[in-house]
């Protein structure tokens, strides 16, 4: 497979994951706004922005933040920016994805493009963000059932799950590692933990696993180390590990090991990790290490498959 094509597929995976993540966070935040006093709302939006780790937001209210995160065409990390970029990449590699995948991406693009934010805001903003998530889910479902599970598929999966690892780690950092008023007192903790779980579509799954009280340690443990929940970090790492191992086999590249090894190390750490690692004193460092490692995997993948030095090849 051409390196350029692999790179495009990888980025389609990342971009769509990010769009879905942002849509979910905004949707959850809109719901929580209804439960809380307006004073904490602005703080909540600022935190949401931290969790997404994008460009600085104008200090503003929910409307401005939601608009910037969803529709700002100048921001390449807005939902619009991500979907437009993913579609653009898909256009360039149209021969390597299925017609159904392209069609779905196109539909999603035109939905976000044609939506009038003011109208959305006045009526049912949650419904719009929900439709964005569903659009992304549909794309992945279509990919699963129409695309050859060859190199292209695994580059897409690698991008998607690497993005998910980073996004979830950042989310946990912002929600659980701050010493802020909302984490004081039982109700505050309850609301913060519930918000975090909902931001990961994890509320129901968590309650099934731990029907007792919500605690910071339990929630952190669930979202980090649970092997079965699709949005936990460990689950995403398992998928990423699977993808990079398969790519190593499919490409036969002599550089493949440089990607498999760092992913394998993260995999082992989570596989054999324990809740003590997530003690409030150590949680931030634990998550930060994950973020750094994810960044390193991204770079290693790029060096191995996309922009490897020519010398390695011609003098090999």
């Amino acid at each position: 497979m051409l390196s350029r094509v692999a790179d495009s597929l990888y980025w389609i995976g990342r971009r769509l994951e990010r769009a879905e993540h942002a849509a979910r966070l905004v949707e959850v935040n809109l719901m929580l706004m209804l439960d809380q006093d307006p004073a904490s709302a602005d703080h909540r939006w600022a935190r949401l922005h931290d969790a997404l780790g994008g460009e600085p937001l104008p200090d503003a209210d929910g409307y401005a933040c939601a608009h910037a995160l969803a529709f700002d065409r100048k921001r390449d990390d807005s939902i619009y920016g991500c979907v437009a970029a993913a579609r653009e990449q898909a256009r360039q590699v149209r021969e390597h994805i299925t017609a159904e995948m392209y069609e779905q991406l196109n539909t999603l693009y035109f939905t976000v493009r044609r939506t009038d934010f003011d109208e959305v805001w006045d009526r049912q903003p949650q419904a719009f963000f929900r439709s964005m998530r569903h659009g992304a889910h549909l794309f992945h479902g279509i990919t699963e059932s129409t695309l050859n599970h060859g190199q292209g598929y695994y580059f897409l999966q690698a991008g998607r799950h690497l993005e998910r690892i980073g996004a979830t780690a950042r989310l946990l950092q912002t929600y659980l590692c701050e010493t802020e008023p909302s984490l004081r007192g039982d109700t505050g903790v309850q609301i913060a933990c519930a918000g975090l779980l909902k931001s990961c579509d994890a509320f129901e799954a968590y309650q099934t696993t731990y029907p007792e009280q919500l605690t910071v340690e339990r929630v952190a443990g669930f979202l980090t180390l649970n092997p079965d929940f699709p949005r936990s970090i460990r689950f995403a790492v398992n998928r990423l590990f699977d993808a990079v191992q398969t790519l190593a086999r499919l490409t036969g590249s002599r550089r493949a090991d440089s990607v498999v090894r760092p992913v394998g190390r993260i995999h082992a750490r989570l596989q054999y990790g324990q809740t003590e690692d997530l003690h409030p004193d150590r949680l931030h460092a634990f998550l930060q290490r994950l973020l750094n490692d994810a960044e390193a995997v991204h770079a290693a993948n790029h060096r191995a498959y996309i922009s490897y030095p020519i010398e390695q090849e011609v003098y090999a």
Binding site: L2, R94, A99, T251, S253, E313
Partner: protein
């Protein structure tokens, strides 16, 4: 171009089903109807079928065909619109039919022509015998803007310059096929030829059972064989790639389509690199050597080191690999010198010079003002001719005699006397007419024909068919897709 006058128009015959709007006109050759009004034998099954099908049924099939084109993504990009909008190429459902004897003439004629043009290119870039013998003026060749000095003395694989040609043929009022243009650089449109046939088979399958139509779907494999044969290496499976300028190019659909049907990689300039005069493509498994490039990029943009330095589409060092004999390109660089407007006029002479044969297919009658007898004729008939300055393109420096005023004609007459070598003249072109479906009725529209010729050095192969381009607007003689042109399936009979 405004609709031409129809002095001999015959009133449509009443009660002739879908043909009741069909105006006959003796000024042009009609593909379906004899001048006497009878249907030509090779069109009879189609005429019958069109009379059988109710108008609603025809409309229904037409919609089904539209949908198929959309689903297949048979589109071209329109420049200038946001993000390069895609349009479906307009097409017509009534096939154009060419009987076997006419096709055999076209085939022999094109083979002769391509063989001569290929010899001409080799000659021009090596010995220059035809120039020394003053059969083709040296100045004319050297002043051509597509002449590439860099190609002098460069031996191209198998001496094949023109692997793929798309020649434009038109028919004069008597139905004689003449060559309007040779496209020896990057001819396009073959994907529409293939797509039209696919859609026709599904839309009007019954038609194919009434006439034996020669198949064309082996074109991609024939193309791949032609390309692979150029490979400079001994590898039994040479690596052939299609080089595209990218997703924004107007013909991107075709590039992707051909790559897919040949089962080869579609690459952009940024996917390739040159090391030690060898071209490689960058893959996830490492670098992979490239042996043959079917390039859909113009000469100027191929290699910023050798040609236009500002090209972002090309590959630095590509020409070096070509010169080093490690790469085959189809078509070769510098071919434009042989399909230049002025050089075109000399193709019949090339055929006589290299092959010692008389041309089987004529050019459109062309007067070269450099020759005194031609010049006199041109000057006396300026009101009937189209005069073209050979160095100009796109309609600049052109006089359309019948539409110009006396002052303009005088000005051209002076210019021709001053610099006769710079001008050629041709009669106003004539395109034959073929039946087309317009709003459920059959009406005549003007058409041309672009067959695709593959040349391997030893032989020519022409897939029986081609792209029949249609001027979709009534009376129009312009078949270009940028100006309302469409296409239709082209049937060659056994």
């Amino acid at each position: 171009m405004s609709p031409p006058p129809a002095p001999n128009a015959v009133a449509p015959q009443a009660a002739d089903g879908p043909f009741d709007q069909y105006e006959h006109d003796d000024g042009f050759f009609d593909e379906m109807f004899e001048p006497t009004g009878g249907v030509r034998a090779h069109y009879q099954p189609i005429a019958d079928r069109l009379r059988e099908l109710p108008a609603e049924e025809i409309n229904r099939r037409r919609q089904a065909a539209d949908q198929q084109f959309l689903n297949q993504g048979v589109t071209f990009n329109v420049y200038g619109s946001e993000g390069g909008a895609e349009r479906v190429f307009p097409y017509d459902l009534v096939p154009r039919v060419i009987p076997a004897d006419e096709w055999s003439l076209i085939e022999r004629g094109l083979e002769q022509r391509i063989t001569a043009l290929n010899l001409f290119l080799k000659d021009v870039y090596h010995d220059g015998a035809i120039l020394r013998d003053k059969v083709v003026p040296l100045e004319l060749v050297l002043s051509c803007k597509h002449y590439r000095r860099e190609m002098r003395g460069l031996r191209v694989p198998r001496d094949v310059y023109v692997s793929i040609t798309g020649s434009d043929l038109i028919r004069d009022a008597d139905g004689r096929y003449v060559v309007l243009e040779d496209n020896l650089r990057v001819p396009s449109g073959v994907s529409y030829m293939l797509a039209n046939r696919e859609v026709m088979k599904r839309t009007l399958p019954l038609l194919f059972t009434r006439q034996a139509v020669r198949p064309i779907d082996h074109y991609p494999q024939a193309l791949l064989r032609t390309l692979a044969a150029l490979s400079p290496t001994d590898s039994p499976e040479p690596n052939v790639v299609v080089l595209t300028p990218g997703a924004y190019n107007s013909a991107y659909f075709e590039h992707a389509f051909l790559a897919r049907l040949m089962g080869v990689e579609l690459v952009e300039g940024r996917d390739l690199l040159v090391h030690d005069q060898v071209v490689y493509q960058r893959t996830t498994a490492g670098l992979k050597r490239v042996d043959v490039i079917y390039r859909r990029i113009d000469d100027d943009f191929l290699d910023p080191v050798s040609f236009r330095a500002d090209s972002m589409l090309g590959v630095p060092g590509l020409f070096g690999a070509y010169r080093g004999g490690n790469l085959a390109l189809a078509n070769a660089i510098g071919n434009g010198v042989a399909d230049d407007k002025a050089v075109y006029a000399y193709v019949p002479e090339m055929i006589r010079y290299y092959l010692k044969q008389e041309p089987i297919l004529d050019n459109v009658e062309t007067f070269r003002c450099s020759e005194s007898s031609h010049r006199d004729h041109v000057l006396q008939n300026l009101d009937k001719l189209v005069v073209k300055a050979v160095g100009e393109a796109g309609g600049y420096g052109m006089l359309i005699g019948p539409h110009a005023d006396q002052a303009e004609r005088d000005r051209f007459a002076d210019a021709i006397r001053d610099n006769p070598r710079n001008y050629i003249a041709q009669p106003v072109i004539q395109l034959s007419r073929a039946p087309c479906l317009v709003d459920g009725r059959v009406e005549p529209r003007h058409i041309d024909l672009r067959p695709y010729i593959l040349y391997s050095g030893e032989s020519c192969s022409i897939v029986p068919g081609g792209l029949t381009r249609v001027a979709m607007r009534k009376g129009s003689l312009v078949v270009n897709s940028s100006q309302g042109g469409g296409s239709k399936d082209t049937w060659v009979l056994y």
